[in-house]
Symmetry: C2
Subunit: 479 residues, 2 copies
Amino acid sequence: MFLKKLAKAASIQCGLQQDVPILVGVSGGADSLALLFGLEALGYPLVIAHVDHALRSESRAEADFVQNIATLQGWSFFSQRIDVGEFAQNERLSIEEAAREVRYRFLFEQARQHRCQAVAVGHHADDQVETVLMHLLRGAALSGLRGMPFRRLMPQWDAHIPLVRPLLGFWRVEIEAYVNSLSLTPCVDLSNLDTTFYRNRLRQELIPELETYNPRLKAVIWRMADVLNEEANWMDQLSLQGYQECLRKEAKDWIEIKLSHFLQQPTALQRRVLRHAIEKLQPDLRDIGFDAINRGLNFAYGANSGDQIDLIARLNLVVVGDVLIVKTWSAELPDFDLPLLTEPAYHATLDIGRHVKLRHGWRLEAEILEEISAELLENVKNIPTDEAWLDYDRVTMPVMVRGSAAGERFQPLGMGGHSQSLQDLFVNQKVPAHLRPFWPLVVSEGQIAWVVGLRPSEGFKISEKTQRIVKIKLIKSDQ
Amino acid sequence: MFLKKLAKAASIQCGLQQDVPILVGVSGGADSLALLFGLEALGYPLVIAHVDHALRSESRAEADFVQNIATLQGWSFFSQRIDVGEFAQNERLSIEEAAREVRYRFLFEQARQHRCQAVAVGHHADDQVETVLMHLLRGAALSGLRGMPFRRLMPQWDAHIPLVRPLLGFWRVEIEAYVNSLSLTPCVDLSNLDTTFYRNRLRQELIPELETYNPRLKAVIWRMADVLNEEANWMDQLSLQGYQECLRKEAKDWIEIKLSHFLQQPTALQRRVLRHAIEKLQPDLRDIGFDAINRGLNFAYGANSGDQIDLIARLNLVVVGDVLIVKTWSAELPDFDLPLLTEPAYHATLDIGRHVKLRHGWRLEAEILEEISAELLENVKNIPTDEAWLDYDRVTMPVMVRGSAAGERFQPLGMGGHSQSLQDLFVNQKVPAHLRPFWPLVVSEGQIAWVVGLRPSEGFKISEKTQRIVKIKLIKSDQ
């Protein structure tokens, strides 16, 4: 019965193959012994690993106990003794976290070295129920209520070798019965290091109490986790898809999301997209709270272009135009591949037949149009925004290309000589605030002739009297 | 503070409009009074309804209390006294279910009558936490853990008027503080009828116990429900879409699902599609257990064509070819619009120039081809499956159209006169077992000339000596 159920769990739920070794993490307790002898009986090739956390006086004896079993059975055995207490102090982790860290690090190292298909550990159904209840009490949502899975890739340990839990569907009593039937004597009280006071109290007081409300409580919680796990898998798959659809661009330290598309998604997906972005930028972050996510969503709904908040873990959330940006504190805001000056203080001269380089392969080029036909003058009304036509007799070549000064004003074409502050122009044209200092101006003897790409000036405009035209053009090359 | 938060809950979470009346269900307890005076203060037009469940001696006094408040304030007031005990007995419901049933029935009746936009009730955050924990202890999955929503259509009460819960985000203490600030004295211990022993114990013992594990337990559970509700909404939307994509055909008492498409979906979606199909066929069913769904899924994966199981609540699950059918016990299996006899015992004669009617507008027609050209004979090899060409000199007209008898055999064309049982032919041709008795045969003097649509017989085949041909053809009309 035990073996038949284990065979199904191993092959179907854990996806294990018969002919590739499995690394089994063995503490010496009943769970890991049942796992070990069960998988052996099913004919899986095994490699045994034991981690001595050096936290209790009997830990050396336990390591010897596991080694003896391995030797007797002729199994490959590898072990490591690590001072978890010291590691915890150095890494500023709790003992529990530190033990987990060193344990899995060693198990996956060994799995890689011995070309194992998976790392198998002895978590069982009672562990599952306790885990789910702990997550519930701590306030986890679906990601916590789904409990532990039979099989999962843990990218922090290995990108390809999964962690499997073939005993996840077995209750403690089933496991102990199997171990007894083999006449094995497991190490007593080899409680793994998760078995803290909190978990013990939950096991010995809370669960029995909850069972007075529903005698089938454990079965019911286990099944809930199982169903929620399937639902969570489905949503994970859909969220990844949704994330890709919301994504504009991503890099190591920033992610750009298409804001208006994002705002049309269901709230649950929005939460998951934001969460996923945070995880990508801060993969080591273990808990992303509801509050951060909710604050992020509220911000996305209410923000104006240029607004910015602290999100979580040294990440900002910024709205620029129709883009929602999640970025590390140190990451620059995106410049959207615009034709900007490389730095605010940049100065250069631009003469006929020459060019000035801007960011992202953009450049400004100047040429002269000598023959002014009626047809050409007709075109003056339809000059594209990436060109400026200036009256050669009004402009002094070479012109200057530079950024704007605080409070600088100019006379926009078509406003009858009235002047406007550049600030107002930038606001009207929705130029993100952080990019304004980099915005290039074409200046002739201190007078702005063209706010590049946005607006030429009244003072240099073409008239019927114009003899020659200076044409300045924005050009994008792939350089 | 109270009103500001209520205004947001009413307009945003509950989607209430300012200018259409709201029907408020008022028991006389603090919750419903807070709801009533709060909505009034926000300027919503209100209609008050009270249900006297006649379960306790003080219930008349409570009805009077609410009526007095309504009169004093000049609100429209409607009440009903119903003997819930009697109703429960007649309908075989628990007292709690019966009270709920009569209460909501009356509230929605009144809402329709007074053209209200919604029925508002006083469930608050503590109720939410208790509800979620009760569902958890009973073993609900997402549908239970999501708790009660701020706004939901309850099709069993009304197809258009939603039930709203504007106080869902308020804790009991906030509500009592507001009621005190108005110098209102609510009815004491107007516990609504859900407040059974079970719920009381949960409130007074279990929740305080859980708070020793996490002092913020209630907030944490409330928020979990809120997040899960969004996730569940999203999945509901996706499941409906998934259901439509899996759907082949549906009717009042059966639903056909495209089996191979269904089997490719994520498990979570499969579960939901099956659940949705059950809900459509048995809308009154309140609890659909995990076990039924899992049994259904396992069956879908393992079943052969013709297999059938009892699913739940007088529903069967049947596989026929590539179709998974959920049906009531009494519903016939689908006949896929095939050209079948109307009943197994059907007999008819078919003569030249006449026809015999079959199901779904199909008919068999016989005609005679007199001029046999070489070209025509060449076509004999390519006769479509909906026609049979018989040698007029071998067949005796009129032929008989009838169903098959048990064990009947015939000589299929092209098998050199060897005979085959009809049973084997049907199996090879994947004719669903339940349709075989209805399958039409064309029979000449006791000999099968054509198993309609499947195979003609060797005994009547066209040869070079054939003078005239009887052509029998399956024709579909829209009659």
